[in-house]
Symmetry: C2
Subunit: 306 residues, 2 copies
Amino acid sequence: MSLIIIGTVAFDAIETPFGKTEKIVGGAATYASLAASYFYNKVKIVGVVGEDFHAGDIKSFNDHGIDTEGLQIKKGEKSFFWSGKYHNDMNSRDTLVTELNVLADFDPIIPDSYQDCEYLMLGNLTPQVQQTVISRLKKRPKLIVLDTMNFWMDIALDDLLGVIKNIDVLTINDAEARQLSGEYSLVKAAKKILKMGPKYLIIKKGEHGALLFHDDLIFSAPALPLAEVFDPTGAGDTFAGGFIGYLAQVGTINFASMKNAIIYGSALASFCVEKFGTEKIKDLTKAQISKRVEQFVNLSSFIIEK
Amino acid sequence: MSLIIIGTVAFDAIETPFGKTEKIVGGAATYASLAASYFYNKVKIVGVVGEDFHAGDIKSFNDHGIDTEGLQIKKGEKSFFWSGKYHNDMNSRDTLVTELNVLADFDPIIPDSYQDCEYLMLGNLTPQVQQTVISRLKKRPKLIVLDTMNFWMDIALDDLLGVIKNIDVLTINDAEARQLSGEYSLVKAAKKILKMGPKYLIIKKGEHGALLFHDDLIFSAPALPLAEVFDPTGAGDTFAGGFIGYLAQVGTINFASMKNAIIYGSALASFCVEKFGTEKIKDLTKAQISKRVEQFVNLSSFIIEK
C-alpha cells in the first residue's frame, strides 16, 4: 500500500518583489511529496534528475520518509531547470529560462516495490508520460489524481483527453476548466468535464479558493486571506500533495473526505507561499497544520438558525 | 424604528447575450429595498424620480410594505436613466447611456416620519449626498452601511473619506479596496480601511463570494456557482439590501449576525441575476429564500474531526 507521486524534480531560480534565490530544489513532485508526507508514511516518488542533483537533496526526501527508488539519476546529464520572475501582484509571472534537460526524454520507471500503489498522483507532465505510468501499474490504483495545465490543452489535447478518461480526480484552474470545456460558467464547464472521465473535478482559483464538483454536488473551499504572499511557486503542487496525502491517510474516498482533503491541501499551500521554494513546508509540525486548518474552519463557518 | 434606504430609483435599459429590455425600473434603492422587504417590514426609501415615473411603479414598492414618503417626484423632470450592454462573460459591461436628469441636483429630504431610523443604508451616490442624509437624521442610527464605487474615489476622495469616518459598515469590491488603501493584499487593505472609520468592511468579489473583516476576524462567504447568469444588474444592491434587512430583523449587530447577513444577502443576489432587472426578486417566497440559504450551507460546510 503506497502513494506514488510522479512529477518534475527540478532546480528553480525564483525572483519575487521580496528577493531572489539561487538554484533551489523545486518541481511538482518535490512539493507534492513533501506535503503528502505529513499525512501518510508510504509516499514514493517517480521522476528523473541529472547528476547535478546532490545526495543531500535526495536525503532530504528520505528524511521525510519519502521513497526515492523511482527517482532516476541520469549520469552526465542535467536536471530540469526553470527560472521565473513574479510581477508585483504575485499573480502573474514571466518565465525567464526553461531547460528541459533530463525531462526531454523522460521514461518513467516503476520499481517492483511500487506495485502496491493504492493512491496515484500524476503531477503536471506530458499526458503521454502520465498515461505510461498508469499503464505500467499492474493493478489499477484505488484513486488516480491528475494535474495538468493549459499548455497540454494547446499542444496535446487528444493525449490529454485520452488519459483523463482513466482518472478519478482532475485538478485544473478556472481558466483551464473554461478552455477544456468551452463553457464560461464553471457549473456548465464542470458538467462537461465530468462526462470526460473524472468522477471529481477540482477547480483551483488561487486567492479565491477552490471548487469541488461531483455529480450534482458542489463544495466551495475558501482560501486563507494572507497579508503577504512571499513566493507562490509550488503552491498548486503542495495543494495536490496535501490533498492526496490526506485521502491516503483516511482511506475513504467520498465527497465528505474530499472536502476535508481540499481544506488540508489548502492549508499546506498557505504555508508554501510564506517562504521561498520548499523552505516553509520542509519543517512543519502537526500542531502548526492543525492550527492552520482551524483557521480555515473559523474563516468559513456560520450558523443559520432554522 | 425603521430601516432607511437611500439611493437611485431609476429607469434602466439592459442588453445581455440573452436579450434586451425596454426601460425598466431599476436603481440601487429599488433593488436594495425590495431585498430588505423580505426580512423587515419598516423599510423606507429616500430618493428622487421624475414625472415619467408611473404610479404603478410606486405602488409596487408599497405592495412590498416599502414606505415611499421620502421618494420625491419632480414635476416636469425626467428620472435618472442608465443603459448598458453586458459582454459575453457577463463580468464586464459597456455603459451606453447615462442621463442624470433629476439626480443632478438631488437634495435628499428626510420626512419627519423617518426620524425613527435605526438602520441606514447609504446606496452608491455622491459622498456629499450620503453625508447630507446622515446630518439630517436627528439621532444617529444604530447601524450605518455605505456602498460606494471607484468613481467617487477618483473624483471625490476627500468627501468620501469624510463620510466613511461616520459609518459602521463599508461595502466595496476587491479592486476598490485596493484602490482605496493602496495595498494589493486584501488583508493589508482591510487593516488600513478599518482605520479610516468603519468597524466592518465587506469586500465583494462577485462570482468568488465576499470577505468580511472586523478587528482581526475574517469571514469568507462563498458565492453560489450558477449555470446561468442572466442579468447581473442590481446584484450588489440586492446583496446590500438583503444584508441590512436581515440585520434589522435580528436586531443584533456583531460578527456572527453579520456573517449570516452576508449569506442572506448573497442568497438574494443569487436570485437577482436569474432574470432581467427586479423581475425575480419581486416575487420571492420565504420558502424559496430558506431553500437557497440551505444551498449556501451545503456549499461551504465541512466537518474536521479533531
